[in-house]
């Protein structure tokens, strides 16, 4: 980066891979207050519109034989519903709308972020951390409400030898509290890393010799990012389901 930065000074090469994540006010300049509409607001609003277009408008015909958009709506519904039911069991099905909300927001925001010049809300720790903490607190509170103190059995590995159990309990406790951290950083880090790498390759495209390679690399990275966008949304959702299962059935 140092040499690249020098290159920027000498040859006009521009590397600002992180600039795409800067949050700017939509209208005019000035400070960003909590209510200021920013580019993050814009792309979150677009993701709402995309979700509405996909799930509400797509299913508006209520056709018995589904069209294309209705198929996608039904597929995403069936995909998440089956995931929730498989992992959390039948009694987890009533949390399906919350999990569906998380999944739809993340997957749509991820895909919208792949549009060039767009902004990716899910690459920000503030966004993913709020979602991960919401899952964490919801699961913890739900665990105590549903199971009482039996929820603490999650940390007491009864299958291990007695002497090891306190140590394992500490490890389990730590891993439990690390959950929201890894949960949020995994998503934001993946999206940020992919976009930054694409941007770095885009910077190389300014050099005539390297530009074909860099364009090819951008195409390849873009394909990978399409995959990653979906997989990270899937992983976020499936981990939410796994945490929810821990709260509902801590004995497993």
């Amino acid at each position: 980066m140092a040499s690249e930065a020098t290159g920027a000074e000498e040859g006009g090469l521009v590397f600002h891979p992180m600039d795409q994540f800067i949050i700017k006010p939509l209208f005019g300049g000035g400070d960003i207050a909590w209510y200021t509409p920013t580019n993050a607001t814009l792309w979150m609003a677009l993701s709402i519109l995309a979700v509405v277009a996909l799930l509400v408008l797509g299913s508006s015909k209520r056709a018995i034989v589904p069209g294309r958009s209705q198929s996608i709506a039904e597929l995403s519904y069936g995909f998440i519903y089956k995931m929730v039911e498989d992992i959390c069991g039948k009694d987890g099905a009533k949390y399906f709308p919350y999990i569906m909300t998380l999944f739809m927001f993340i997957v749509v925001a991820n895909f919208l972020a792949l549009i060039p010049m767009s902004f990716s809300p899910t690459s920000h720790f503030a966004v993913t951390a709020v979602m991960a903490l919401a899952v964490f607190f919801a699961v913890t509170i739900l665990g105590f409400v549903k199971n009482g103190t039996a929820f603490l059995g999650l940390f007491w590995v009864s299958s291990a030898p007695l002497a090891l159990r306190p140590i394992l309990a500490i490890i389990e406790l730590i891993s439990y509290f690390v959950r929201p951290v890894s949960h949020s950083i995994r998503l934001a880090g993946n999206i940020m890393a992919g976009h930054a790498v694409i941007k770095v390759f885009a910077g190389f495209a300014a050099i005539a010799v390297l530009s074909p390679v860099s364009v090819l690399a951008i195409v390849a990275m873009y394909g990978l990012e399409v995959l990653v966008s979906f997989i990270q949304a899937y992983v976020f959702t499936i981990l939410t389901c796994v945490y929810l299962k821990d709260a509902l059935h801590p004995s497993h």
Binding site: A2, N190, I238
Partner: protein, 74 residues
């Protein structure tokens, strides 16, 4: 000079991405080996596969994050 050290640190932290790649490859490879032995059980374990990959990859992402922090925030 501290900027130089930070960049070296960032480069070292990027090695962690390679380690994560080894981990992910291990998970996927073992899954494939198991799936070829018993293909009928493979479909039911794809969720486990992705969870495993996610956990392995999370640590690589941590390394990447450390690199980024060293690059931009130190």
């Amino acid at each position: 000079m501290e900027g130089d050290l930070a960049h070296i640190g960032a480069g070292l932290a990027a090695i962690g991405s390679g380690a994560a790649a080894i981990g992910v490859g291990n998970v996927a490879g073992n899954f494939l080996a198991g799936a070829l032995r018993n293909p009928s059980a493979a479909a039911s374990q794809t969720a486990t596969l992705f969870i495993g990959i996610a956990f392995a990859e999370a640590l690589g992402i941590f390394a990447f994050l450390v690199a980024l922090l060293l690059m931009f925030a130190v």
